[in-house]
């Protein structure tokens, strides 16, 4: 077709004078090529929309459950659509309890059971009329928290809560002023329970998150929040008056765990926000996105993390004076504050911490730490970061190497500009009796079961 048209144009061209012929030739060529060009543009747009559809369909499959994992690991969707799944725990029989941030069908704790042993929950029920984050099993009790109290349910010999409507109130009256109100919790093996009480503030400014508002000196929030409180695990109706401020100066700890090897509390702190927005004279937008570090601490009684007076800069490896308290991004401070044992890039929001004590995973993972990073919002307009589960190798109770990404692709998109773009957001971590790792997602309510098969 194209060939024949070219012959016809050539015949016409031969009959004309040279200059005129050139003009006519160009016009004819243009007229001839124009429809072709338009057709090509149309087709290419068809193609791009086709490939776009194929891409999103592919991503949708990937989102369903194909986390990116190291070789030999596989993930299975144990359950989905359970609600805003925060922390979770596995019973000795392999059943799962999940705490929901807000009520689903009027309930805040979900029970999941796999009756045929295929690795997927086929029975579920729910109870508890409060939303919250914390959930932990120790011995024959399930502990769960609202944003101001901790409740305890007795587990029967099969690891099941039978009296779902009559929990003991272990702790009550903890401060909840909306901001950082998750009361995540963990128990040691000596009859104590540790509860995070997050700061109801970003940096203890006189007016929270307002440019040029000075830091309060001393910060009054530290009296009743921004720390870890210790209570008796079998106490009833405890409050601030009979709890101990076990560690202070921790802005907001959502992920925490008890390290059995060291018999010690480990926590993940959410670093402060908005260095650039509040102090553009000292920080670039890029520095504001990267700083400060998200930090892991090994805690002893009486330790101080330094908030709000300092933050940790993982690039300089130093504790830096907060700009609300006279800092300029360079001055160091906080000699009395403890150093983190591991630091991660800023704002990734570590919401889950778990020391792996199973034997299903290869040697490398044993006694190491998994950290669930919920994913950032504070890096805008830079692209967001996190939305993965990281791993930190440990030897003799200390990190033996740098952190690495263990499970990725929760978000289902390679570039996340806003958290709303993320399909799933990892939050809680738990280990099954067989050594499988469970991860909760508080966006779509997926519970992932990650196993090692070696294949």
């Amino acid at each position: 077709m194209l060939f024949l048209s070219k012959i016809a144009i050539a015949k016409k061209y031969n009959k004309m004078k040279r200059v005129e012929a050139t003009v006519v030739y160009m016009r004819d060529t243009f007229l001839f090529l124009l429809p072709l060009l338009l057709c090509a543009v149309y087709l290419s747009s068809c193609n791009s929309s086709d490939s776009g559809n194929a891409g999103s369909a592919g991503a949708a499959t990937a989102r369903h459950d194909s986390l990116k994992l190291p070789d030999g690991f596989k993930s299975i969707t144990f359950a989905d659509s359970v609600g805003k799944a925060r922390h979770l725990a596995v019973t000795s029989k392999g059943d799962i309890y999940v705490k929901l941030a807000s009520l689903k069908a009027g309930k805040g704790i979900v029970y999941l059971h796999d009756s045929d042993g295929d690795g997927i929950a086929d029975e579920r029920s729910s109870f508890g009329d409060y939303g919250g984050t914390g959930l932990f099993i120790r011995d024959s009790f399930l502990y769960a928290s609202s944003n101001e109290a901790v409740y305890r349910y007795r587990l029967n010999e099969n690891g099941i809560v039978q009296q779902t409507d009559r929990p003991d109130t272990v702790i009550k009256g903890l401060i909840d002023r909306h901001e950082h109100n998750s009361k995540s919790l963990v128990l040691d093996r000596h009859g104590n329970i540790y509860v995070n009480i997050g700061a109801y503030s970003n940096a203890c400014q006189t007016t929270d998150r307002v440019k040029e508002s000075a830091g309060q000196q001393p910060c009054p929030i530290l009296d009743s929040a921004a720390g870890i409180w210790q209570f008796k695990a079998n106490g009833i109706n405890q409050g601030y008056h009979n709890g101990t401020r076990y560690a202070t100066g921790f802005r907001n700890v959502v992920g925490l765990d008890w390290n059995e090897q060291r018999d010690q509390l480990f926590v993940m702190q959410h670093g402060r926000d908005q260095l650039f927005q509040l102090f553009p004279q000292y920080y670039t937008a890029q520095q504001g996105a990267e700083l400060p570090a998200e930090t892991m601490y090994a805690i002893n009684e009486g330790d101080d993390g330094g908030w709000p007076y300092i933050y940790y800069d993982h690039l300089k490896k130093q504790k830096i004076l907060a700009p609300e308290y006279g800092g300029d991004g360079k001055k160091t401070a906080g000699e009395k504050a403890i150093d983190p044992i591991m630091a991660f890039p800023g704002h990734m929001a570590p919401d889950g911490l778990l020391f792996y004590t199973g034997t299903m995973f290869p040697e490398k993972y044993r006694n190491g730490a998994f950290v669930a990073f919920h994913g950032s919002w504070n890096r805008a307009p830079e692209k967001q970061k996190g939305y993965f589960v990281a791993f930190v190798p440990f030897k003799n109770g200390k990190p033996s190497g740098d952190w690495e990404i263990f499970a990725d692709n929760f978000a289902g998109e390679s570039t996340i500009s806003a958290p709303g773009d993320a399909m799933h957001r990892p939050c809680g971590l738990a280990q099954g009796p067989d050594g499988a790792l469970y991860v909760s997602d508080d966006s779509k309510g997926t519970i992932y079961r990650i196993v090692y098969t070696g294949k």
Binding site: R177, H178, R209, W377, A380, A418, P419, R425, S443
Partner: protein
């Protein structure tokens, strides 16, 4: 005579534009609003106005954004520290007050931008409305 008709027609057109201009956003206000949004609001409410689940409220499909202007102006001027519930979702981070950092025109323009972006379609806001909201 012809000139008079022309002048009258001109006035009519100008008057029509003035009436429309009162409630629908001008390009200039939208442009100024966009710049203020990027600097002041975007870090928390995000580039697409989707907010942060559980923390910072979305600005799209929000009764606060598309509803009563005086209430919205009050939130920008005085902030909000008690958390809010929007479409059955709780949002816990506080909104800082911007009454000092932004002047009446700034607030009018940024709200005009927000009310006509992210899929929103609501009336423009004026500096006079903001001024009245400061009292």
């Amino acid at each position: 005579m012809k000139k008079i008709w022309l002048a009258l027609a001109g006035i009519l057109v100008a008057g029509g534009l003035w009436v429309i201009g009162c409630s629908s956003p001008t390009a200039a206000a939208m442009k100024r609003g966009e710049l203020i949004y990027a600097k002041t609001c975007l870090p928390c409410h995000q580039a697409d106005g989707s907010g942060v689940p559980g923390l910072n409220p979305p600005l799209r499909n929000s009764p606060y954004v598309n509803g009563e202007p005086a209430k919205l102006i009050g939130i920008v001027i005085n902030g909000l520290s008690d958390g809010v519930q929007i479409n059955d979702e709780d949002y816990t981070n506080p909104m800082p007050p911007f009454g000092k950092a932004l002047n009446d025109n700034d607030i009018a323009d940024v709200l005009t931008y927000i009310r006509n972006n992210f899929g929103n379609k609501a009336t423009a806001m004026t500096a006079d409305q903001v001024k009245a909201g400061r009292k």
